[in-house]
Symmetry: C2
Subunit: 304 residues, 2 copies
């Protein structure tokens, strides 16, 4: 079962995130392949690294943005599951010895420790394929044009212009001098583009006008940077029992981060400002966007 998000700024958000995480977990379980055949270790590794917890923050954003446009919640949950498969694949590959070399993830041994490196590489690869398979399936949306837009948007967010490109720069950040502009670009690519996909996926599914898509995109950009600064702060000051992964790794690696450049206090103030800007980006909507507002406030207060 999904862990209860801690230190949420309202019961409302906590309950909604828990309900969402449960739905997404059930959908992921349905969508993941099962077999007794020779490839069983691959399928076990895929399940190991995707099921059994996590805040499911990205699917939550998909579901909440979908709700703004009256999109069928089952369709939104499928898209949420797809983006979570993509996110989990990136965690598996990021944890590999050749990358961040991390032994712990969500409080458990990371995929290559539990299985082996080859299995972890393949599990990540197969999860990426699965994400696109889910998006392209007719069950995800009745309009094939919408499904193609989802595939296209997620492919860009995950590929060289997004997550993979950002991770490449992040690896270089251990050895090269990066200023605040370079770090901002890095983080927009590495985590921001996937958040932007999540926040706009509902608008794509609901065929919303451009103005609303842009508003959600702004929300996601500020949200993503605030999230990342909070993540850097957790790496510096957090408790690995709560984060479920080792802390202090950035400092140890001498990696340029928001916190190493701005210092902890200014970074904290910046995260709070970005969080409020994300909230303001939702002014087009009334109460229907309250959970998205809560989420933007939550991410800078979380301790895990």
């Amino acid at each position: 079962m999904a862990r209860v998000p801690v230190a949420v700024n309202s019961d409302r958000l906590g309950q909604a995130m828990q309900a969402s995480a449960g739905e997404v977990e059930r959908m992921m379980n349905l969508l993941l392949p099962k077999a007794d055949d020779a490839e069983a270790p691959l399928l076990e590794a895929m399940r190991y690294s995707t099921l059994g917890g996590g805040k499911r923050l990205r699917p939550f954003l998909v579901q909440q943005s979908a709700a703004l446009f009256g999109v069928d919640s089952r369709c939104a949950t499928r898209v949420g599951a797809a983006v979570e498969f993509m996110h989990c694949y990136s965690l598996i590959h990021d944890d590999l010895p050749a990358m961040d070399d991390s032994d712990l993830r969500r409080g458990k041994p990371s995929c290559h420790k539990q299985f082996d490196e080859a299995t972890a590489i393949l599990a990540g690869d197969a999860l990426q394929s699965l994400a696109f398979q889910v998006l392209a399936a007719p069950e995800t949306h009745s309009d094939a044009m919408v499904r193609c837009e989802l595939v296209s948007a997620l492919a860009k967010a995950a590929g060289a212009p997004g997550m993979a490109g950002g991770q490449m720069i992040d690896l270089l950040a251990e050895t090269e001098e990066f200023d605040i502009g370079a770090i901002t670009r890095l983080q927009r690519m590495k985590t921001g583009e996937i958040f932007a996909f999540c926040a706009t996926a509902g608008a794509i599914m609901g065929r919303a006008p451009a103005k609303q898509v842009h508003a959600l995109h702004s929300y996601a950009q500020e949200f993503g940077l605030a999230f990342q600064i909070a993540d850097d702060l957790l790496d510096l000051e957090g408790d690995s029992d709560l984060t479920g992964k080792p802390t202090g790794q950035d400092t140890e690696a001498g990696k340029a981060t928001f916190v190493s450049i701005l210092g902890a206090d200014r970074a904290r103030a910046q995260a709070k400002l970005l969080s409020e800007q994300a909230v303001s980006a939702l002014d087009l909507w009334g109460e229907s966007a309250d959970l998205l507002r809560d989420a933007a406030r939550f991410i800078v207060q979380r301790d895990g």
Copy 2:
């Protein structure tokens, strides 16, 4: 430039493959991202491992199957480029130290030797994303339903039910006892499903009736197994100057292959039989399928 395929069984096939490879290379060059930004090493690695040669056999099958149904050749070339990105990503990841640990590919240092392991993992990941991005784009086909079918078919062919699952089993084949049935299933997954995608992609784009799709699927199944047996024979008997990769690796790894189970002579006879069965599967078509027939004969005679 693409290398000239050697030992083709007709000038017609050799010329057609060369023309196709040139078109695909130009399209891949157009589709691959370029940038001077911090992620440049990733983009260089993606280009290094995809451009500059190779027989481009998979795109050739896409183009030839598309030609059977009068599909626009530019659309077919885009789909061919997408499948070649997918194929090249799989080669990059297969060559990694944790997988087949191969230092040479297409006569050059493999991606992780030329760059490093982290860059190679990310280049493969980003190429997979790019393949789906290309398929989902409106330029690939005017009908979004067709584009979704292409995405869905390639995702299944590449993921756990196909290539990634097959590679998982292939790794286990070094330590476990496999009979001929298990090896056949492994190879159908590892290489056969991608060939099946290529041969049926034209039928999907041309909205062909089921009977013709099935015929092309049968062709691809026999083609894929014949190709793989020929590959195993090249690993045993081939010249690494011609194959562009080390030979003798399967035997060294004690890996179960068609050749280790059947012996070289029976394997050679089996490959020839499969090649002829692939040719027979095309009886629905007249001369328009001659290049597909030539290709099925070529793959069991090639020396690289």
